[in-house]
Amino acid sequence: MHGMINRALQGFLVAHYGERSWDEIRSIAGIPPEGFEAMLQYDEAQTLACFEAAVTVLHKHPNALLEDIGTYLVTNPALEPLRRLLRFGGPTFLDFLLSLEDLRDRGRLAIPDLDLPRIRVEELDPSSYRIRAQWSLPGIAPILLGGLRAMADDYGALALLRLDGMQPGEECLHVQLLDMTFAEGRQFVLGGVGA
C-alpha cells in the first residue's frame, strides 16, 4: 500500500482524535514512532492493522470511521491541494461523478505507483447513478460515500447517497442527483495555485 494512503489515515486520526489517540493506535498496530512516510511503500497488513486498532481504540463503527475519512480527505484545509486535484474532474458535480472512472488513471498520472480504486459509473436514469468500486482493501464504498457527500457540498449540488451493496471485490454506492445548483459551492479557480 502506498505510503500516501497510510499517511492520509494517520493524518485523519491525528486531526480528529489527537496525537495521544494516534500514539495509542500506532503502538497497538506496531507502527514505528515516526509514523507513516508518504513517499514509501507499506505492507497492506500494516494499513489494516492501523485501521483495526483505530476502531478498537476509538470505539467507532468501521463504516462510520471510513466515511469520516472520506469527508476528511475533501474538507480538511491541510488537504486543499487534494481537493483541487479532485475538482479537475469537471466543472459540475455530475461531470465530477462521471470522471470517477478516470480516478485510478489520474492517480497514476500524479504518482505512478499509487493504487487507487477502479471505479465504474452506471447511469440508471439521468438523475440516478450506481458507482461500483473495486479496491485491494475492503471499505472503499464508505470512504467514497463520505468523500462524494463532501464533493457534492463543494460543488453546491444536492445529492442523496447511500451504500448499495458491499461484497468482497466490489462495493457499490447509489447516487441520486436532486439539484445541481442547490447552493453556492466552494470556489475553484483553475489558476488558483499560482505559478
Binding site: 486535484l85 479537475f88 498520472l109 500524479a110 504518482i111 483553475l190 489558476g191 495555485v193
Partner: protein, 360 residues
C-alpha cells in the same frame, strides 16, 4: 456565415477536394482559441477563449498583426508573410499580454475564405490560466491543458512531500553522525572523533597544535565511595571545565573512563601550555558537590606539541609521547603535568624525555 463550402457528394475515401462547412458555433466549440481572418488579414471572428484572453472580442476588421505579435519565425511583417508559414508552428503573443508566450498554427481557407489562426497556451500555461482567469469551460474537452495543470499541481504537492522526506532523512543522518562522534555522558567528542581530527590536523602541515592527555586522579575513590552517579556527575563537570577552555578549532574528547584528549590549536609556547595545564588542573581540583557529598579530584596531564618534532609525527607517535609524558607526571605525584621534550638535532634523546611541573 459559414466557413468553407460543401464539396460535391462523393463516395467515402481519400478526396482532397472534399471540404466541410463549419458554423461559427462549431468553430467556437472545436477551437475556442481561434481567430478567423479575411483574405486581408483582418479579424472576422474570434473564439470565445481567445476573446476572453484579449479582454473582450476584438472589433471586427481589426488587423491581426495589431492584436498579435508573431515572434517566430522572425520577420513576419505582413499577413502575406504569415500565410507563407502555413502549417508551421508559430510562437506568438498577444500585444495586450506580451509576457505570456503562446503558440499557434495558421491555415489558409479555400476560395475567399481567408485563413484560420488556431492558438494554444504555450509552456507558460500555468501563469496564462491564472492571468487570463481561464476555467474548465474555456478549454475544448480535447485540449490537454487541463491535464497539464492537474499534473503541475500534483507534481508541486509531491515535490513538497519529497523535500520534506529528504529534509527529515538529512536531519536523522546528521543526528546519527553527531551521535557517532559524541561522548553521550559529557557531550564532548569521543575517541572516534578524536582519532579523525588528530589524523586530519596532522595531515595539514601548516596546522600547529598541542596534544594534551588528561587523566583524572582519585576518580576511582569518588566512584567507590559515592557511587557511579557521583562519578558520572564529576565527569560531566570535567566536561564543562574542558569546554570552557576550548577555542575555535580546539577539540576535547573523552577517550576512556576518566581519560581525556585535547587538541589546542596554535598553542605551542611552554609558558602558554603551563598556564593552560595549571588552569585545567585547578578547575578540576575545585571540590564538586553531589547530593550533599563533596567529591574531590585532581588531574595529571601529559603534553606534546607539533613543534617538538623534526619531521611531522604520526598520530601514534604523538599519542605515545603524550602518554609517556602523562606517565612521568603521574609518577611524580598527583596534580602534575609534563611536557614532552623534543629530541636533539641528532635524533637522540636528551637525559630526560619530559619536563615535569607541579600545578600548584
Amino acid at each position: 456565415m459559414t466557413l468553407g463550402f460543401a464539396a460535391t457528394p462523393s463516395p467515402l475515401g481519400p478526396d482532397t477536394k472534399r471540404v466541410v462547412g463549419l458554423s461559427p458555433q462549431v468553430l467556437d466549440r472545436l477551437m475556442p482559441m481561434h481567430l478567423w481572418l479575411d483574405p486581408q488579414g483582418r479579424v472576422m471572428q474570434a473564439g470565445p477563449t481567445i476573446a476572453k484572453m484579449m479582454g473582450g472580442a476584438p472589433a471586427l476588421g481589426t488587423r491581426l498583426l495589431d492584436l498579435v505579435e508573431i515572434r517566430s519565425p522572425a520577420n513576419i511583417a505582413d499577413f502575406t508573410a504569415l500565410i507563407a508559414q502555413e502549417g508551421r508552428r508559430l510562437s506568438l503573443a498577444l500585444r495586450s499580454a506580451s509576457h505570456l508566450p503562446l503558440r499557434g498554427v495558421v491555415s489558409s481557407l479555400p476560395g475567399q475564405g481567408g485563413a484560420l489562426l488556431d492558438i494554444s497556451l504555450g509552456l507558460s500555461f500555468v501563469r496564462a490560466v491564472a492571468e487570463f482567469d481561464l476555467n474548465q469551460g474555456d478549454f475544448s474537452p480535447c485540449d490537454q491543458t487541463l491535464e497539464l495543470l492537474y499534473l503541475y499541481e500534483a507534481n508541486t504537492s509531491i515535490a513538497h512531500l519529497s523535500r520534506h522526506l529528504t529534509e527529515r532523512l538529512r536531519a536523522a543522518r546528521l543526528a546519527a553522525e553527531a551521535q557517532a562522534l559524541t561522548d553521550e555522558l559529557t557531550g564532548l567528542a569521543n575517541r572516534r572523533a578524536m582519532d579523525l581530527e588528530l589524523a586530519r590536523v596532522l595531515a595539514d602541515e601548516t596546522a600547529h597544535f598541542a596534544l594534551l592527555h588528561l587523566d583524572l586522579d582519585y576518580f576511582k575513590q569518588v566512584n567507590d565511595t559515592h557511587g557511579h552517579a557521583a562519578g558520572d556527575h564529576v565527569l560531566q563537570q570535567v566536561g564543562h571545565i574542558l569546554r570552557a577552555d576550548l577555542r575555535r578549532g580546539d577539540l576535547a574528547a573523552r577517550v576512556g573512563g576518566d581519560e581525556f584528549l585535547i587538541i589546542l590549536r596554535n598553542c605551542l609556547s611552554e609558558d602558554g601550555l603551563r598556564e593552560v595545564a595549571k588552569r585545567l588542573i585547578a578547575g578540576i581540583e575545585a571540590p564538586v558537590s553531589f547530593e550533599g557529598k563533596l567529591c574531590k579530584l585532581s588531574a595529571s596531564i601529559g603534553i606534546s606539541t607539533t613543534a617538538g618534532y623534526g619531521t611531522r609525527p604520526t598520530p601514534d607517535e604523538m599519542l605515545a609521547d603524550t602518554d609517556m609524558a602523562l606517565y612521568r607526571a603521574k609518577n611524580a605525584g598527583r596534580g602534575r603535568f609534563a611536557i614532552h621534550l623534543p629530541k636533539r638535532g641528532d635524533g637522540t634523546l636528551g637525559a630526560r624525555d619530559a619536563e615535569v611541573y607541579n600545578a600548584r
